[in-house]
Symmetry: C2
Subunit: 163 residues, 2 copies
């Protein structure tokens, strides 16, 4: 028996308990290059326990709805940012933590142009570009140690549609 997970649009306020929305919004913090370029400054809380920041690229296959969420994972040693390299939408599933168990799952759908930074230790689903292959820049922790925990659900969740 699966449980349905409704989606909502990704906004900075709604996502604040889980991480940062990385997006161009409002006026730039600074104009550079003789007025030709706006800088939106320092949009994510990078947090790497005894490691260092690195840039990797992820090449993710397209996902379709309905999407089954049978597992979430978390990285106890570092934050993890995802920046799509094309203006696609992706599904972001996150959860609270109750004594080591993911609870109160939420599903967000991005607007093209939005990226996210998951704060350290936040339970989250797999990378889900919707309807198209997705390439992402990923800024996360480079270092040794056990930085991946998975939780598989006995009763999976299902995202049926973009609500």
């Amino acid at each position: 028996m699966s449980k349905t997970l409704k989606t909502t649009a990704l906004t900075a306020d709604a996502f604040a308990p889980y991480g940062d929305v990385i997006e161009i919004s409002g006026a730039p913090d600074k104009m550079i290059n003789q007025g030709m370029c706006g800088r939106y400054h320092d949009l994510a809380l990078l947090d790497f326990n005894d490691g260092r920041a690195g840039i990797s690229l992820f090449d993710a296959r397209a996902r379709a709805l309905p999407h089954v969420v049978d597992m979430v994972e978390r990285h106890p040693m570092g934050s993890q940012a995802f920046l799509p390299l094309s203006p696609l939408r992706f599904l972001v599933v996150v959860a609270d933590d109750t004594d080591g168990t993911p609870t109160n799952l939420k599903a967000f759908v991005t607007t093209p142009g939005q990226g996210i930074n998951l704060h350290r230790g936040i339970w989250h689903g797999v990378l889900c570009p919707l309807g198209t292959q997705g390439k992402f820049a990923v800024i996360d922790r480079i270092g040794d140690g056990a930085n991946l925990e998975e939780h598989w659900f006995d009763a999976p969740y299902v995202v049926n549609s973009v609500d």
Copy 2:
């Protein structure tokens, strides 16, 4: 009297003296998400003198050719990575340093999908998305201190075409 600067295609080998090309090439270092996503791991040398890594977004106006290079700049305290958030081409002007003066300028044109990481202290031109507005994720140093030097040329360089 301006000097003409020829362009070449951006490749990792040709760019190695100046920085890293951040691109998907060959087989992934690791498959994740039950085989649905390839990770190309740790593609850039991030190097931040007494600061920290941050993620910012740059919104740059379109540039057209011919493009006049009347100034290059460098950041003595940190590397700076540029990842286009759409599959555009951008012009990358870099130079060697001779006793504090930029010399031996080179101009590269990216292939859509390529990003770059300029190593700490490398002279470089302004951000130049070709023919279209460009939004970029920028991973650079967040911190105090004088991290910008500019050099204005008496005789500018001109990039006339993509060669």
